[in-house]
């Protein structure tokens, strides 16, 4: 046997092994990225950088909504080791049971993974977090993540401003920008202007050590993106007026909406009862929210935009304006107060238009409506009524009734203006005529409007025929307001026709025996109209709509006080105080104010 040949066996084995190793290295390093992804998972962590949310100022530049730092206590389950649970609980001031409960809840949540950070306790105030932070190094796997939440400087306008809360799955599905745990605006300005306020999240990639501690920025920060701050907003709200409105409305259910007619800017929007928006910030948000939600007075319900009421007599002015423009009547037209057709109050028998508005004459406006609905186009009175109604409805809608106003306030109710379709559904096609539906002529029947639409009517009359969609934000990051709030919407009613109506409204307030005597305001010509919305079996709602001053109006307002009776008793004086506060920045008659404050419709 030639032993010399055996060297080839040995060399063969060596070469074979080295080649096998090279092939193995190739699969580990080149052909399969499983292990490199694994390494990235182990060594890199991306941290979201939350930009500061935009601030909200009032129309005079006063800061309404600011940010405050708060901490989420985060947990990275993989890194938690040798946890002394009892001492940890003592540090966090929670019970062992609560600790176990939180852990169990976390494990069940969708986002659970041992290598993904979890929120262990949300929104700990800085003063509470400082002592925790000092001890946190003893508990690997736990760390604080700074967040910012809102701080409401004056505690007013809770529903108007809205608040922020964690995104729900629906938000994430709709916009992939959001990740679980992100905040999003809920309601009000926070919700409507979410895209401007939130800014742009940044991300920072860090290299971490095996304990999960960040060591250096990954790839010299080449993949990091900067957070872009949210844009500041200037709201249209006059915070003094808003605060005053909330003050006046205490112990009353209802709403106040004040609009600047020349721009459509909402000066105040009060829904009562209200609450301090700071209640919904921080650790107690959940429990406070529950309390508000279960409150029988519905403080979370924005009556100013969601509450719908029959417009009552105030609607007569809309009827008058349309009838004038349709040439169905003139200011001199007189109609007999025939109380057999429909009830009426007061000593009058045969009013012209101005008188009919001042006396709120029901038969007069029944007659006006009849002229519009019975258009005399078709012989058949049913067919004829259908044509008349359709045209009438169109014109009513140009006042913003029965349609969702193109506002930036989320969740507005459109109200209801019945038309042909509506009545066809109830009575059947060509089964109804004017005599069936006449109650809507005086603002009763199936008509429904909300307080915002009513204030907007004040603005339309103040402007003599046009309005800007009412809105709550006048400037976004120095770029002005949204485009859609810069173009007026026309009712196409000749401005001249407004004079009769405006004069009548002035007399409603100023004439001796006018229904809105309590709306008189020293030095300011207030034009207004009371409404009393029947609400059987409960007491009527007290309603008042007004604008002031008569020439060059600065404010249009609607006031609703639920179950408070006649419109002139409560709604009118509240409107007057609001107008005086806004225009004069002071109240001349403290007794008038005191009378309102003293009145409690609930405790």
């Amino acid at each position: 046997m030639n032993l010399g040949n055996r060297k080839f066996v040995v060399i063969g084995i060596v070469v074979f092994i080295i080649l096998a190793f090279i092939v193995r290295l190739f699969t580990l390093q080149i052909s399969d990225d499983y292990w490199s992804r694994k390494a990235a998972n182990l060594t890199e962590r991306s941290t979201k950088i939350y930009p500061p949310r935009g601030l909200i100022y009032d129309r005079k530049g006063e800061l309404l909504v600011a940010n405050q730092a708060i901490y989420d206590l985060m947990m990275l389950p993989r890194e938690v080791k040798d946890l002394d649970t009892l001492r940890f609980c003592a540090l966090l001031k929670i019970s062992k049971d609560e600790f176990d409960e939180r852990l169990a809840k976390m494990r069940k949540s969708r986002g659970w993974a041992s290598n993904k950070e979890q929120v262990f306790i949300k929104q700990i105030r800085p003063e509470d977090f400082a002592p925790i932070a000092e001890q946190l190094y003893k508990y690997p796997g736990f760390y604080g993540q700074p967040r910012t939440v809102r701080n409401y400087k004056r505690g007013i306008g809770a529903l108007l401003l809205g608040d922020i809360g964690e995104v729900v799955q629906r938000d994430i599905d709709r916009d992939p920008y959001y990740r679980p745990g992100d905040y999003i605006g809920k309601g009000g300005i926070e919700m409507a202007y979410e895209d401007y306020l939130r800014g742009q999240k940044g991300v920072r990639f860090m290299v971490i050590d095996p304990m999960g501690r960040p060591q250096e920025s990954f790839n010299e920060g080449d993949f990091d993106t900067l957070a872009i701050s949210g844009q500041n907003l200037v709201s249209t709200i006059d915070s003094d007026l808003q605060a005053y409105g909330e003050y006046l409305m205490q112990h009353k259910k209802g709403s106040i909406v004040a609009i600047e007619p020349a721009t459509g800017e909402i000066l105040a929007m009060v829904s009562s009862p209200t609450y301090d928006p700071n209640l919904l910030v921080g650790r107690d948000r959940g429990s406070n929210y529950g309390l508000l939600q279960n409150d029988s007075l519905l403080p979370l319900y924005n009556r100013a935009i969601k509450g719908t009421y029959r417009p009552g007599s105030i609607f007569k002015m809309v009827q008058a304006l349309i009838a004038l423009d349709e040439d169905k009547i003139t200011p001199q037209t007189r109609i007999a107060c025939n109380r057999n057709l429909i009830g009426c109050h007061g000593p009058h028998t045969y009013d012209d238009l101005e008188g009919a508005i001042i006396h709120s004459c029901n038969p007069y406006f029944r007659g006006v409506m009849q002229r519009m609905v019975e258009a005399n186009i078709k012989k058949d009175r049913f067919e004829d009524a259908a044509i008349g109604m359709s045209h009438w409805k169109e014109r009513i809608e140009s006042f913003g009734f029965g349609t969702a106003l193109d506002t930036d306030v989320p969740g507005v109710n459109r109200g209801n203006v019945p038309g042909k379709k509506y009545y066809d559904k109830i009575y059947g096609e060509e089964r109804w005529a004017f005599s069936t539906i006449y109650s809507i002529s005086i603002g009763e029947g199936e008509l429904l409007v909300n307080p915002l639409q009513m204030a907007n009517l004040g603005a339309i009359i103040a402007n003599r025929g046009y309005y800007y969609p009412p809105h709550t934000v006048k400037d976004i990051g120095g770029q002005g307001k949204l485009e859609r709030f810069r173009t007026p919407l026309q009712t196409n009613i000749d401005p001249d026709y407004f004079e009769t109506v405006v004069n009548a409204m002035q007399k409603v307030v100023e004439q001796d025996g006018g229904t809105a005597r309590r709306a008189r305001t020293p030095g300011i010509t207030v034009c207004g109209k009371t409404g009393t919305v029947q609400n059987d079996p409960l007491p009527d709602h007290s309603v008042f709509m007004a604008f002031a001053p008569k020439e060059n109006p600065q404010i249009a307002i609607s006031v609703y006080v639920e179950n408070a009776g006649f419109g002139g008793t409560w709604a009118a004086p509240i409107a007057s105080l609001m107008i005086e506060q806004y225009i004069n920045d002071s109240i001349s008659d403290p007794r008038k104010e005191q009378r309102i404050i003293d009145q409690h419709f609930f405790d």
Partner: protein, 440 residues
Amino acid sequence: MQRGRDIRKNIDWLSIGIYAALVICGWIAIYSASFSEAHPEIWDMGMPYGKQLLWMGICALVALFTLNIEGEFFNRFSPIIYLSVTVMLVLVLLIGKKVGGARSWFAIGSFAIQPSEFAKMATGLFLAYFINTSGVKFKSFTNRLQVFGIVAIPAGLILLQPDAGTVLVFLGFIFAMYREGLSGNILIIGFASLILGVVSIIMGANVVEYPWFGEQSGIFYVGLGILALAALGFLGVKLLVLPRNRKRTNLIVLASLFGALIFSGGVYTGIEQILKPHQKERIYILFGLEVNNPDADYNIRHAKAAIGSGGWRGKGVLEGPMTRYNFVPEQNTDFIFCTIGEEWGFIGSVFVLLLFATLILRLLFLAERQRSQFSRVYGYCVASILFMHVLINIGMVIGLAPVIGIPLPFFSYGGSSLLGFTLLIFIMLRLDSERFSVFR
């Protein structure tokens, strides 16, 4: 003797070049694996890279010194070297310092010496001396027993430390013996055992319920398989082998049958019953078997991730996050190849592998060109030891061998290891430089 006088002329500069390249690469890897912002100076004696630099200096002197010793000295003194190392191996068991569960170090001041690193060199020298002087042809049983004893005594002492990795390295001497005439069957038997062992481990560990024998009965099926193969063997003998040889061949098949059954059963019992849980886990992890303890494969998972993240060109020296932040344990010693993989990438890893391959093959070439059997056997021993280290260490970190603690020559931090390999190689280079002057 005249022609061998000038060492510089006859010395194998290629081997020295590869040696130097490996040591330098090794130092860079150690620097990266133990780097600390606070101590960036390469000569900082408080840091592994500083100490390693000192050891490199010592090794250079030792190498120079070794090259100037007559080759005859190593031949003559090999029994004494072997004996003194054996004594040291006994002593270390008695007065050695326990590090990581093994009593394998002599602590001298702040430095520590590991006698097992020198046992490889001593055993190689004495094996070469014995085969050379006694004219062993591996024919007689006594012969084989003597040679086995020479390897088994130090290996057994090292096993008592315990240091299973170094013991495995001693298996490498089989290559040298094979070259000198040990039956090739031993390699075939070894290869067959490896396959049978792997099958036994996988089948034995399977908790799947097999028919008839119940849960964890996979090993019975291995037995059935062996019986079936033996039956085929007997049938083959009857059909293919000449009648006069049948009896002998049948005996071989029968012996293989019993050998295989005992081996397979032994492996199974050994792993399931005798090995400690963590050792069993290491073997299970290697074969991708289910392990109850989720942290058991932590090391090897992180090692693979580190290497895998290297890509073609690696992350660059000091730029690999897994190396930088110590994701892999023992990464400047046993797991140092992870640093190469992560920071030097596929290109760097293959370069290092090729350096090793070239050195091993070059040593085999040097061994083959010796006229003296002593030098040839020793050369084979050196190449084999180097090969076993590379096989076990790199095989481990890339997940082809179980986790066994063993240094990667020239790379793993540690003076004894570097000094041991330096001696191992430079003795061979000195012997090689005298190849023309020796006639025996």
